[in-house]
Amino acid sequence: MACKFISHEDTNQWLEALAKDHVVFIPVDDGGSVTFRPYGEGRKPVLDRMPVRSPKEAVFPQNETLLTYKYDKDPEDPERTSVRIKETLPKERAVVFGARPCGTRGMTVFDSVFVNDRIRDPYYATRRENTLYVTLACHEVESTCFCHEVGSGPADTAGSDVLLTPVQGGYTAEAVTERGEKMLEASFFADGGDKCAEAEAVKKATREMLGEAHDFSNAPEALLAVFDDDEFWDDQAAACLSCGACTYLCPTCYCFNITDESTGTTGKRLRSWDTCMSFQYTLEGSGHNPRTTKGKRLKNRVNHKFAYFPDTYDQHLACCGCGRCIKSCPASIDIRSIVKAAQARSAQKESK
């Protein structure tokens, strides 16, 4: 990867230039939380903290319109109505600037699910094709960070088009994709020179800060071994409030609901983020619910990330190790500890 350099000052110019024909999502301070908002209106990127919200919403918005519908009365017979529907595919081009590698890696989970040889979700695919990810490598770590334990790292390029690394006076920039290469042709970028070695040192130092990585490789077997252990799961979920913060903030959580919203004779069908931590999520019309307890719902979330998804899609964990679910959980539930406890419990069972 060719390494280029952009100064802090030129970075602002670059954002300005990108914003001319893209919606540029940047991390901004929003009442104390760092969230992604479109560049402009005097908004300044906040790059010294990990964003609380994940960068998924640029491509997978919290809610989006799938189609619109309109009821028409039959002029011959007012008792009768017919319906017209219209597909509403997204068109805008976007850039996500300043997401961390873990958050951007989350998009690779979406890519596996929404665009594969079985299916192409046109809403997701269109947005993904029209969105560039300029990701910022980490130079600091938090106690909740565990990217290095899920096959990622603080300078992971998975899902990104460009990787920036903070160095003295600006950032080095490396293109990850062809689209990223095109972006770095802009006049704001100079040859990296000795900044490149500095960037490599930053990456190495940050990785070292994370320390040794716990081995999650037998997680699928361990989780399956404790599947019917209700006591284990009820215990792990005892403090859970079923608020869903873990799923909404997760860069890899993609579950959604589909609902209709009408105004008079017109309306739209929406796709909105949903949470598997909710009782209603699997509640059936008959009243039957396969996941009646918090323990069963937490089990599904953990299993999906560490067992089901890797089983279905090429062994990749559906967890990017960002730690958002840990940091934002009002009950301090820690997914790392749950999987580790499952590993310990299943080892214990085996030795009995």
Binding site: L66, L67, Y69, Y71, R80, T81, S82, V83, R84, I85, E87, V113, F114, R118, I119, R120, D121, P122, L224, F227, D228, Y254, C255, F256, N257, I258, T259, D260, S262, G267, R269, R271, D274, C276, Y281, T282, L283, E284, G285, S286, H288, P290, R291, K296, N300, N303, H304, A307, Y308, F309, D311, T312
Partner: protein
């Protein structure tokens, strides 16, 4: 898979049949004749019916691909969407996304006996396969149907049943939990729980058994089939879960790493045993 898997095709209801006090059958045709002409599906596959402004729900296509005059869906009134669907009349519009999911192994079943065991609305997915087998009668062995409901009035598909009773190439047994005064006068009318009547009939266990119904009925029917000596990979059932997208994206109908909407709804008992216990 279609270019936009969540976009329904518009269809019109041709006819509504009132089956029971809470089940109606809807016969629909796509508005676009090309869509209708090119539509193909296999017995067991499902579709999503849309009432715009209320939502979508999943139902099995219970007509047979051998009869493509219309697609037929039977809907039990349970929640918001099904209540609204029950208000629809012939001539009304409805959105249809179909076919979705997998199908019964009709090829594999060729040359074999097939025993159908249906309970309540669970008769719907059996109907599509039963009609399909009858329309390809020479390809299959002995066909037996055991269909049960709470009361005689809760038995759907009366017209079909009358036709099947008149044929000599299918054995039909009906059973109810609560008979009325008329019930039991004919030899095919039994009283009692489905698994018990099934054991009484004692069908040849070398063939296939296909069952669908309420979870509790399926559970005891599987036990009875086991007892009768049916092989696990020749016992077939169809599952239901709450669904939204129907195409394996929205995440809610999973049992372990399988999605009922794409890996099902048809499962063999041998496959169910490999899934985690989360029905």
């Amino acid at each position: 898979m279609k270019a936009n898997p969540v976009l329904p095709d518009m269809a019109t209801i041709m006819e509504v049949v009132e089956e029971t006090s809470n089940i109606k059958t809807f016969r629909v045709r796509f508005d676009d004749e090309n869509v209708m002409k090119n539509f193909t599906f296999e017995p067991g596959q499902v579709g999503q019916l849309s009432v715009f402004g209320i939502g979508e729900s999943t139902f099995v296509i219970n007509s047979s691909p051998t009869r493509m005059d219309y697609l037929q869906f039977s809907v039990m009134r349970v929640g918001e969407v099904t209540s609204r669907i029950h208000q629809l009349k012939a001539g009304d519009s409805v959105g249809v996304r179909a076919p979705l999911g997998n199908a019964f192994p009709t090829e594999e079943m060729k040359g074999q006996d097939v025993t159908f065991i249906g309970g309540g609305i669970g008769m719907a997915p059996l109907r599509t396969l039963l009609v399909y087998l009858l329309d390809n009668r020479d390809d299959y062995g002995k066909i037996t149907l055991l269909y049960g409901a709470r009361t005689p009035q809760d038995l759907s598909y009366q017209e079909d049943i009358a036709e099947w009773l008149g044929r000599d190439d299918i054995d039909v047994v009906l059973t109810v939990d609560n008979p009325d005064e008329e019930w039991g006068k004919n030899p095919h009318e039994k009283t009692g729980l489905i698994p018990n009547v099934l054991k009484e009939i004692n069908p040849d266990n070398s063939g296939y058994a296909v069952t669908c119904g309420p979870p509790i009925m399926i559970k005891f029917t599987l036990m009875a089939l086991n007892e009768l000596g049916f092989k696990d990979d020749k016992i077939i059932t169809t599952l239901e879960k709450r669904m939204k997208c129907g195409v394996g994206l929205c995440g809610r109908c999973n049992i372990g790493d399988k999605y009922v909407c794409v890996d099902g709804p048809v499962f063999k008992y041998s496959e169910l045993q490999e899934l985690p216990n989360e029905l």
